[in-house]
Symmetry: C2
Subunit: 664 residues, 2 copies
């Protein structure tokens, strides 16, 4: 009978608490579980986590708080806490206690039991209003398919799907006029910077409109005095609160250009990954730099080698928000790539970043003695978000919440759509700014993407390796561009655009598949039902099985339209499966039409096909709005509000399914 | 206040009972349901049916029995019966009653309520033993890919999947030696018929073995004296019971050949659909003919026009089994095409068919005075099935059940796999023979297929438009042939084989998709885990979501391997989706490997990928046994019995994933 004793010296750190090596329970035979002794010292909280094992805590001494899925309960010696698998949990010993909280944890995996109690993932409660923010576009060139396939189309698809569910959802973005990239482009073009920002900002909005992805709010900062004032006020508030401070920072100075190099004005090698990059942020690894720390730096205007310099600027010390950021990142919904970027950054000291720099282009820094400097454009993004949230609150008759930033992820659901290269700015920088402004719940739902390639190579404005959205819509209908971009969206891995593959995919899946089925269904309705929807009659096992499948496809399609599992690629694959099976059902069930007295079987099958067509109209609409609208019209669907995805057409509804839905 | 009165003269026939037109309930506003008065006369039973509407019966007078899903309850005046949607039901007034059973039915559709209570389809209870019968192959040529893509591969896939679930499943078929088609082929070849049957029977079995679809029993009738005796005994029993009788039947007689033309010996136009056909059964519409009723008949040996004749034969009057057949067809599980064929036949008088004909080739008819006639070969099929069932009963230590035929769909589940062109023979003729023999539960699970084409045109042995299985395996591995045939199986509609598409599909789906993912996973395991399976650690929302998906794919894959929803095409599509998502998960989650202290997240993702690979090994094995076996081996899976499809590899299991799994 081996006895294992708990000794302080056997304890090791594990997620902020002290844990023993596994208690040996293997003599004479292994126990079917693992056990540890754990000590939570006063003031300590175990790291929030979840796992597939079932776990029991036996509290042996002390008292504290256990939180499961964020719900806290007081616990004390003698308590047993039984934890279901895959629910996140922490245990906390309040600082005012004097005694350690000690417990034994026992855990084991039981996949059979889990399979038996497998429940659908808890769906995030739907709120009545939502703001979908997309990083404002840099007006230094046209919007290309790489941009569109990333956050812009995704936000539009999500917003359309949310609206169909009855949510007051708004798509907010703008042009990021005051970026140094715009200034640099104007210099290249030999045009005034205002004109450059105006030109490309207008063309970017036109491109979004041309593919049916018109934002509800598209802010043009250079043309908005109110925006400048809001940004300056936001900056001043943070400056006055001490969140921002003046500091002399190291810089790179170009003697020939007489400029401290910032962002686009400098190029070199990323201090983290070694990739070629401009200043501030690296597109490759996503991590920030301070410009002065680039290896092999060069001025991007004259090509000369800059020298080390210093300049007094306003800075924002991210390290001050470490705890808030860590907590936020633990709770926020985001893809693995962004999450790992955040975790890597949190594993090291967080940088102090410059938030003003010398320029005549931008919102002047409202700080005496720093005349000639402007506020870094990411402050404008924060200001845009707050303003949009305040607008929405006002338009819905709500008062803004306590935080003056006004951007509350509470009544309004706030989502951010962005590419991985913006991960640091969105997840760390913007979040820290909102925390600094006193916002308790910064936007914590991120829908991200990786790079989209053109024929296998990175889209590049400078190398002119791109297809602009405005050019694409000249030759291909918006629905088809949207379909193909959704089908190939680089959600988790880089993917590639190919015009030949677009044509082939559309022909096979949409023209031969979807349209072929719908036209055949239309003919059948005209021939056998005078063009009106029949009611279901008598059912066979094939009918029941198809209805059950239809329910499954609709559920999967709807899940792929949620922010947490957002995948328009999966959505269109599920819809193609729905069409394939509905088409086969329709072909096979046509036999009933010739069996005497079996009309009731035949009409059930046709009513099921129409229910499938109805689901297709609703579920495809966020991706292909024109098709969704045409099909809804042809099926006599009037209802525009939220509708259960599986439902039958009202018997007698006139149905017309014959016009071309997809034209290359 | 409109009053509607029930009057006998307003009642009409509806499925064997008397039903009023819908009671008008629309003044001043329409009622949210439909109501009928119904009268069940003594001895009547309503037709078994189900529908999506919820229904309530209010019994107003009389008494009887209501059966829901086959479970009977006594009902009488004053009773209310509430019926859930999509459960089949009948109501019966026993013949010994003197009063009508009268009830009011009220029904309405409520899709929202249905969606809320939507439950998975009740799975057929799994039995411990199963017999999968495939129509014996005609040994008049080689087995080609059209045959294989139909019932043969399907039965092998089903049997392999059932065995993996622990069912003692057996695949039974044979060569149908005594068909006139074999005799005719021998005549064409100028060879003895015994030699022809021997040659092709051997080659057919070799072809099945070459693609890993070796039957557990492959009966060669010409070489089995016992089989002949069993067939004769079965025939005699039916003859002596009066189920078979002698009758002078109309024939077509070829004066030049001095033969009453039968089956292959005559050609003409089908009396039902007008298609060109041989005698007995039409491949086009599936309906039987009597040879003498063919339009534009010609002798298939001399080409001459036959004249009407008569001959005394033994006949089997199918009409005698109308009620048993109708009841059977109402209960049996079958595809729509076969079901509609049966229903069309039942809507007309059923034919009396000849079951002996003049020939020296076959089992002699044991009827004095009819020397020179043989028993029609479908009796041999019935005899084979009974014998195989009796064998299985004996080998499992069961006594055969009451019916001497010995073919009981009780303890042993009996399935029949066949092409639609055999629908009449299997669903009507064989069933009637078993009913005549006193079998209470003839095999009632049918898995059927339509024609498979070669490059868009029908496979044809006579036109030499075919790819024989033995030729195919010379150039392509059995796994890949099986995969492609499963992916394109003509389950409900005709589909087509294309060698170019096979190569392309295999390259894209299997080589780049499945193998690419597995090899990448193998490299990752070698690089990060010393080639051993990690345990899951800490979970993120991506991990939880993937596990939930994996559970869904496994459930869908398993459902597509059941007889009721049998679809190997859907199975391989689901597995490709599993691979696609697992591969993307693996790529995205690799980021955790470089985050300090986050190994527990990384290993969860890799353990999930391995769980997906494990599910793939199990679920793909019925389709690609060699691949399934290799992958199971490489994952260290030892367990051969039934296993939950979602489970984790034991931590520490050595995993090797690097060898070529698919070679074109």
């Amino acid at each position: 009978m081996p006895i294992h004793k708990l000794r302080r010296e056997d304890l090791g750190d594990y997620g902020n608490i002290l844990v023993s090596e596994a208690v040996p329970l293997d003599d004479p035979v292994p126990a079917p579980f693992t056990a540890h002794w754990c000590v939570v010292e006063p003031g300590a909280t175990s790291e929030r986590h979840m796992h597939r094992e079932i776990e029991a805590f036996f509290v042996t001494s002390g008292r504290g708080l256990v939180a499961v899925d964020g719900v806290e309960s007081e616990v004390e010696a003698g308590d047993t806490i039984y934890l279901d698998p895959l629910h996140d949990h922490t245990i906390h010993n309040p600082a005012e206690n004097t005694d350690d909280l000690v417990f034994v944890t026992v855990y084991w995996a039981d996949d059979d039991a889990r399979a038996a109690l497998a429940e659908p993932e808890p769906a995030a409660a739907e709120r009545t209003a939502a703001l979908a923010f997309v990083t404002p576009a840099t007006p230094n060139g046209d919007l290309h398919l790489g941009h569109l396939a990333g956050p812009y189309l995704a936000a539009d698809v999500w917003v359309r799907a949310a609206r169909a569910r009855g949510v007051d959802a708004r798509f907010v973005t703008g042009s990021d006029d005051h970026q140094t990239y715009v200034e640099h482009k104007a210099w290249q073009l030999g045009k005034p910077v205002e004109e450059t920002a105006e030109l490309y900002g207008t063309r970017i909005l036109a491109a979004l409109e041309a593919v049916g992805a018109r934002p509800d709010l598209f802010l043009r900062p250079a043309a908005s005095a109110a925006h400048g004032e809001r940004t300056a006020a936001f900056f001043t508030r943070l400056y006055e609160s001490g969140a921002l401070r003046r500091e002399v920072v190291p810089t790179l100075y170009c003697k020939r250009c007489e400029r401290h190099l910032f962002e686009i004005y400098v190029r070199g090698l990323c201090p983290h990954c070694g990739a070629a990059t401009n200043g501030i942020g690296c597109e490759g690894c996503g991590r920030p730099n301070g410009c002065h720390d680039l290896a092999e730096p060069a001025c991007n205007v004259c090509g000369g080698t800059p020298v080390p310099g210093t300049q007094e600027r306003v800075v924002f010390p991210l390290e001050d928000y470490r705890h808030g950021l860590a907590d936020f990142i633990g709770r926020a919904s985001m893809g693995t790539h962004v999450r790992t970027l955040c975790e890597r950054m949190l594993a090291e000291p967080l940088p102090t970043i410059s938030v003003t720099h010398e320029s005549a282009w931008g919102v002047p820094a409202p700080v005496p003695g720093l005349e000639g400097q402007v506020i870094w454009s990411w402050f404008e993004v924060a200001s845009l978000y707050s303003a949009a949230a305040a607008d929405m609150a006002a338009s819905r008759g709500w008062s803004a919440n306590g935080a003056e930033a006004g951007l509350h992820d509470g009544d309004v659901r706030v989502l951010q759509f962005f590419g991985f290269d913006n991960g640091y700015f969105k997840a760390i920088l913007l979040t820290a700014l909102f925390l600094a402004a006193g916002e308790e719940a910064p936007p914590s739902t991120f829908v991200t993407n990786e790079f989209y390639r053109l024929d296998g190579r990175k889209f590049s404005t400078s190398a002119n390796h791109l297809v602009s959205v405005l050019d694409a819509v000249e030759s291909t209908s918006p629905d088809l561009i949207r379909y193909y971009l959704c089908a190939t969206r680089p959600a988790r891995v880089e993917t590639s655009y190919s015009a030949a593959e677009l044509a082939e995919t559309v022909q096979r899946e949409l023209v031969e598949g979807w349209q072929g089925w719908l036209h055949g269904l239309g003919s059948k309705l005209r021939e056998h039902f005078d063009g009106a929807a029949p009611d279901t009659g008598l059912w066979t096992e094939q009918h029941r099985s198809f209805e059950s499948d239809l329910r499954g496809w609709c559920a999967e399609a709807e899940r792929s339209l949620t922010a947490e599992c957002f995948s328009p690629a999966r959505l269109v694959r599920v819809l193609s499966e729905l069409v394939r099976e509905a088409s086969e059902l329709g072909a096979a069930e046509l036999e009933w039409a010739v069996v005497p007295g079996r009309w009731d079987m035949f009409r059930t099958a046709v009513a099921l096909e129409l229910a499938a067509a109805r689901a297709l109209a609703i579920l495809a609409a966020p991706v292909m709005p024109r098709f969704g609208c045409m099909l809804a019209e042809d099926l006599g669907l009037e209802q525009r509000g939220p509708a259960p995805a599986v439902a039958y057409l009202a018997p007698g509804t006139p149905v017309r399914l014959g016009r071309p839905y997809f034209e290359l």
